[in-house]
Symmetry: C2
DNA sequence: CTGAAAGCGCTAACAC
DNA sequence: GTGTTAGCGCTTTCAG
């Protein structure tokens, strides 16, 4: 199948290429008859407009760059689904870039998306990405940040309010007189980890208490499980909060292994429900985070920015909903 | 930051745009001094070559389309990592497309990648994608199929030999006189599910036996867990094989719930190890599938095809390695 | 309503 | 070595 261009179509339909272009873009009023003729020619020849040439002519690519840290890609599968589905609806293409710490330099990636002349960039910010964001801001390219609360002239963000979730959680426990609430650090998700901690701090402050239940995992621990296994030999808490599903699983196993009965002696809450938190026994009580929506809404926001539609909320907050299972009481 | 083109750079450096182009592409011999001058101009102006224009001029985009069924995207996170990492090395960009059954039409997606003039397409084939593949073949566009064994002039493939894995597994059990080996169907991964079944059939044939242990899950079952829960009320097997990690977890829970002790009464094997198969207790014996490699090798293969380098193996087989944990004996 | 022609930014012969 | 120029395929005024 040789490459066939707008010229071939024009010749076949006996019109000028301008007319073909008009038909393709469904623009100005083309006489019904000519349109028919052109469309037939297009079908006959199997013509597919060259998006590259269009991009060049329009200085617009209907393409967005998606930047995701490779560490969170499995976690963000559903995010990508939502994002792509919406992109499809609005006829945008998605350029995928993963950043692997130590391997891929974020600067290079930014360079790449700039070169590719994407119309916008959507970036999943599990770490502190201020630098990169500033870099992109210089290019004045519309940007949506997922997972972080931030905004500016050309930046919107969509995030899950983990802080509030933990805040509410802690408040409800504190009201029952339960104060020994431990929160496990999550190196992989700095930003979220900090938010979660903050939520607890804020809640405790309401009760005139200082929060001191944050458990730091020193960097040299090979795995959360290993760490917790020894941790639970000497510690126990009324409530234990983990961020990632795998951390919650690790906690469940380690605690059980150490003879701590869950939920009787210790309650366990995971901040990110997944099919795995409900695939273990006991099923882990967890917050259901609207991942698909996170991606979908981010992309929708992007389309709005690109069409210069008004964006009512530049920092869109999504709520995580608590789903009580069997690692918490009542 | 206004858009700055090769012309601006040329003017700034006091050379013609051809020279700038040469410098960018590190091509022909440019006098060291002029090169310096041009590079300074580039830096000063913050010039970034327009990949779109380059693509047009070269009729080559150094871009590959990646097509992934949205159902397997979480599963394929590591695949994507491998793929992107290698893409980065060879300076290719990745166009991501997810296909959601019932929502996105595969034909539309093929249309999109054609329009985008990608240099090649990498497609993750969990279902039977013969039609789509033929469609792409018409365009004579280099293609790498992941997860399926197939090849032709313009098609290579990288796959994991699940058939052989199961074959070996069955043989080893049969040699011990264990014949009651059940394999659970996996609707989500048709192709693999069939391969796994085939492996058993082949193994049993070696012992002059017909294999009859394939468990079909009728489509109307809401979840594997629900299905197995009632299944294990009346059934029990010496060995139970599941494909996906979540199916294995479901089997573990359902069986345990039904009072079947694992591995004593029933051994359990999962065909796809994940952090979750080893996050439950007992840890599930499973095959470690080189997902990262699957993506990395596929991309590497693609770069070879695109450079017309010789491809020694058009159907590259990857091996899954059995990792014995606590749901199997010895 | 349709055609002619000037770009969009870059590459690659072909001259000089 | 470096500059000139003709495209790559499409959109978009501007005429007609």
């Amino acid at each position: 199948m040789k490459k066939i261009t707008i010229y071939e179509v024009a010749k076949e339909a006996n019109v000028s290429l301008a007319t073909v272009s008009r038909v393709i873009n469904g623009s100005s009023v083309v006489k019904e008859e000519t349109r028919k003729r052109v469309e037939e020619a297009i079908n006959k020849l199997g013509y597919r407009p060259n998006a590259i040439a269009q991009g060049l002519a329009l200085s617009r690519t209907t393409t967005v760059g998606l930047i995701i840290p490779s560490t969170s890609i499995s976690f963000s599968g559903r995010v990508i689904n939502g994002l792509c589905d919406v992109a499809k609806i609005y006829d945008y293409s998605v350029y995928l870039h993963t950043i692997t710490e130590g391997v891929t330099d974020i600067k290079e990636i930014i360079d790449d998306v700039i070169k590719a002349r994407v119309d916008g960039v959507i970036i999943y910010a599990d770490k502190d990405l201020d630098d990169s964001i500033k870099l992109l801001e210089d290019y004045n390219i519309p940007m949506v940040v997922m997972g972080n609360q931030i905004s500016s002239k050309s930046i919107c963000s969509v995030y899950v309010d983990y802080r509030k979730a933990v805040y509410d959680l802690c408040i409800s426990y504190l009201q029952k007189g339960i104060k020994d609430i431990a929160i496990l650090q999550d190196h992989r998700n700095d930003v979220i980890s900090k938010l979660i901690k903050q939520g607890a701090i804020d809640a405790f402050k309401q009760f005139d208490l200082d929060y001191e239940g944050f458990i730091e995992i020193s960097k040299d621990n090979r795995s959360t499980y290993k760490f917790l296994k020894s941790y639970f030999k000497t510690h126990k808490h009324e409530v234990f909060v983990a961020n990632r599903d795998s951390q919650a699983l690790a906690a469940l196993n380690a605690a059980t292994g150490a003879g701590i009965s869950i939920p009787d002696e210790m309650q366990l809450v995971c901040m990110n429900e997944s099919k795995y938190t409900s695939s273990v026994r006991p099923e882990i009580s967890a917050y259901v985070v609207p991942l698909y929506d996170l991606g979908a809404i981010s992309m929708r926001l992007m389309t709005k920015m690109l069409k210069d539609e008004e964006v009512e909320e530049k920092e869109k907050c999504l709520n995580a909903v608590f789903s009580s299972k069997n690692t918490t009481k009542e």
